[in-house]
């Protein structure tokens, strides 16, 4: 009996020792394809046995496609990419960085969030190779989104284009309506449809759980950019002019001519206020069954249509870009995109950063479908759908003035809080001026 008393401590230390060695989880990288042409990857060097951890908001199919795209890079450089996608990224990245558990690479969906991390001293400035690649492959605007206080941190990755107006080509053809070329033509058409009475001109839905209101911020950003031009837009977003500047209130009122008029909205759902209780993904559906004519939503609306919907100029649905207010000034568009930032400056991480800024990555990823990029080296023919092709052409066109989604650039207290809430209150009946005042008062003081 006496001997057995020593059994437990011995066993315990044994288990402890085991635990200490076995705690690190293993996770192999994405599926390796049989063979790839490694000549394209020579410049990134050899990094056998090195691991690069990547963290982002991208999950499911999109994540699988990313890993597929990376397979050749992994195979040719010998580095392993450990990918983790999470919908909690926005709150978790700050927590992880603070806890000393940051990933090597983080893919930020919002430049504002990235800037916070850069200012906190967590992100590493991008190496020269990345900076050069971005100079070569992107417009100066895009480079600016990755620059914080004069230091360049992050290269853009993929992009989305906002401000499309979705419509059913068949309905337009049957009724003899033309796709409007200017804002005024669009308003005229809307009035005509409203007077006709067969359907409402517009469908809208801003409900999105705790993010309710964001589709409305997209609307307002589109109108500010088109009505006031890029200079005022930039000043507005960077708070050089207050949020309640008369020009911004005017843009709200202009948007309100559509969104706050019971005759204009909300096909298939009810009055103006039903916009707030209609999910953004369902909101467009009445376009298909002829209860409304138009629906304002980004290119990713393509995935909200029911399966089997043909998206083409002659198909079930198609989209035109929200038209310019002054056609002589060319097309202005808003959109979003991801930024690739590094928390480490080891050679393999920098090689990966450089690769992510390259045209090869953009082409390989776009070939798999579902996304586009503003990378100038991207061949539009690699796009997998008509709409993607249209979006790429818009992004690459010299005539296009592109601006990043304003709410993503604003500080979190505004961009992902008071602006959304303001839009909700506005649709619910609060006057434009009052809404702008309350958003202005929420702008962080420091």
């Amino acid at each position: 009996m006496k001997n057995r008393k020593y059994l437990l401590p011995v066993a315990a230390t044994g288990i402890l020792a085991l635990a200490l060695t076995a705690c690190s989880g293993s996770n192999s990288g994405g599926g390796q394809t049989a063979s790839a042409d490694c000549s394209k990857y020579e410049s990134y060097g050899k990094h056998d046995g090195k691991t690069i951890s990547v963290y982002s908001t991208i999950v499911d199919l999109e994540a699988t496609n990313l890993e597929k795209t990376w397979a050749a890079f992994e195979q040719c450089t010998g580095a392993t990419i450990k990918y983790e996608g999470s919908k909690e990224f926005e709150t978790q990245i700050g927590v992880r960085a603070k806890a000393g558990n940051a990933p090597d690479i983080a893919i930020f969906p919002q430049p504002g969030l990235m800037a916070d991390q850069a200012r906190a001293g967590n992100l590493k400035p991008a190496p020269k190779a990345v900076s050069d690649a971005v100079d070569k492959n992107w417009s100066a605007d895009w480079k600016k989104y990755g620059t914080v206080d004069g230091v360049f941190y992050t290269a853009p990755m993929l992009a989305n284009v906002k401000g499309y107006v979705w419509y059913a080509p068949k309905t337009f053809k049957d009724k003899g309506w033309d796709v409007p070329k200017t804002w005024d033509e669009m308003m005229e058409l809307s009035k005509k449809i409203a007077d006709d009475g067969a359907m409402k001109p517009w469908c809208a839905g801003f409900e999105s759980g705790e993010a309710t209101g964001w589709p409305g911020t997209d609307w307002v950003e589109d109108v500010v950019l088109r009505a006031q031009g890029p200079e005022v837009y930039d000043q507005w977003v960077s708070h050089k002019i207050p949020f309640n500047d008369p020009r911004i209130v005017e843009a709200l009122d202009k948007t309100g001519e559509i969104l706050l008029d019971d005759k204009m909205v909300n096909g298939g759902f009810g009055d103006v206020r039903s916009i707030l209780t209609t999910g953004f993904a369902q909101a467009g559906q009445p376009v298909l069954d002829g209860q409304c004519a138009m629906h304002h939503q980004a290119n990713f609306q393509a995935s909200n249509w029911p399966e089997g919907t043909v998206i083409a100029p002659e198909g079930d649905v198609w989209a035109f870009m929200t038209p310019p207010i002054d056609a002589s000034k060319g097309q202005t568009i808003t959109g979003g995109g991801e930024m690739v930032g590094a928390y480490k400056d080891t050679p393999e991480v920098q090689a990966f950063q450089t690769y992510m800024a390259s045209a090869e990555f953009a082409n390989d990823r776009v070939k798999l479908g579902g996304v586009i990029s503003a990378n100038k080296g991207l061949d539009p023919n690699n796009a997998q759908s008509e709409l993607d092709k249209l979006s790429i052409n818009l992004l690459q066109s010299k005539e296009t003035v592109f601006r990043f989604d304003g709410s993503d650039l604003m500080p979190g207290a505004v961009g992902s809080n008071s602006f959304w809430k303001g839009i909700v209150a506005w649709i619910n009946g609060t006057p434009s001026k009052e809404v702008a005042d309350s958003i202005e008062s929420s702008w962080p003081k420091s």
Binding site: A19, C23, G25, E210, S274, L276, N417, S442
Partner: protein, 321 residues
């Protein structure tokens, strides 16, 4: 599969380590010198819990209290967060709503639960009747929020209604109504959801308490000529006083912390926000952890007196026994 296997192994190892540490501790306590054995035993068994409390409760509480006096960049800003809380109309609406919630929910749930428990007491099919009211307890607040959101769903006049309540209204010849958009009545519509959940809890506890009231007392009251209301008022209610306090305080604390219902149904929009919801929004979405912490502190101060009162009532009862 590899991944799941690895995780499973980690879990097993973690559990084994835990068991080993506890085993080791017990062994050491067991082998302690006779003279100080009692002391060491007490310390040995309390220490793990005390350490966990310190790390998991006391330390975060202290840190949160400190955070409540800092701004978004982590600098001390005195009472600014509290000034914000008691001056901004939005934050004031949040506090007002929380007060409405904490008054109405415990009161209504307890009254309905008590009435139901009294009426079905010794009725035929009592168990089934009880189960019907108790069932919502099994639904999570998020689930209940989604269910009721569908109940309150709105479509314009002339369009087929998808929400039960609006379908009823239209069938009765009334206009459909946007239940969740008009303050302040929308707070009441949210409160109904919580009452729906908590009534079952109140009913079960109170029903058990009613059955514990001595039969002799009730019969004596009846022989003295007390009518049913007098019996209820003067015999049953004093007999279940302890349970009533427990039910009221438990529901009050749950109500002060209510978050999921508001978050899923309105996300705090349309003037329906409550302290717990605003705490989360400020800390994690608006990037104002200081304001979030200040709200947490206020919430803590609101819960404290209720907990203290509850503990005192329970102690008094123990003394009586």
């Amino acid at each position: 599969m590899d991944f799941i296997g690895g995780k499973l192994l980690q879990v097993v190892i973690a559990l084994a380590v835990f068991a080993a540490i506890i085993g080791l501790l017990m062994l050491l306590v067991d082998r302690a010198p006779k003279s100080a054995k009692d002391k060491i035993t007490v310390i040995g068994f309390l220490a793990p819990a005390a350490v966990l409390l310190l790390v998991g409760l006391v330390y975060p509480a202290v840190q949160t209290s400190f955070l409540a006096f800092t701004d978004s960049a982590g600098r001390l800003n005195g009472l600014d967060n509290f000034v914000w809380m008691f001056t901004q109309p939005e934050a004031l609406a949040t506090l007002r709503n929380t007060v409405i919630w904490t008054v109405l929910v415990p009161l209504l749930s307890t009254v309905f639960g008590l009435a139901y428990a009294v009426f079905i007491d010794k009725a035929r099919g009592e168990r089934i009747l009880k189960a019907l009211v108790f069932m919502p307890m099994a639904i999570s607040f998020v689930g209940a929020g989604i269910i009721w959101k569908l109940v309150y769903d709105y479509r314009g006049p002339g369009i087929e209604q998808t929400g039960v309540l609006n379908a009823l209204r239209v069938a009765l010849g009334m206009e459909p109504k946007q239940f969740l958009l008009d303050a302040p009545e929308n707070t009441v519509f949210l409160i109904i959801v919580m009452v729906w959940i908590q009534t079952g809890f109140a009913m079960v506890i109170l029903s058990a308490a009613i059955k514990g009231v001595p039969m002799e007392l009730v019969e004596a009251a009846r022989l003295d000529g007390a009518n049913p209301w007098q019996q209820f008022r003067n015999v049953t209610v004093p007999g279940i006083r302890g349970s009533l306090v427990v039910v009221l305080t438990t529901i009050t604390i749950a109500t002060l912390k209510v978050f999921d219902i508001v978050r899923t149904m309105t996300a705090g929009n349309y003037d329906t926000s409550v302290v717990a919801n605003e705490m989360y929004t400020q800390a994690f979405r608006a990037g104002e952890p200081g304001r979030g912490a200040a709200l947490a502190l206020i919430l803590f101060l609101m819960v404290l007196p209720i907990v203290v009162y509850n503990a005192r009532v329970l102690r008094q009862q123990k003394e009586i026994r």
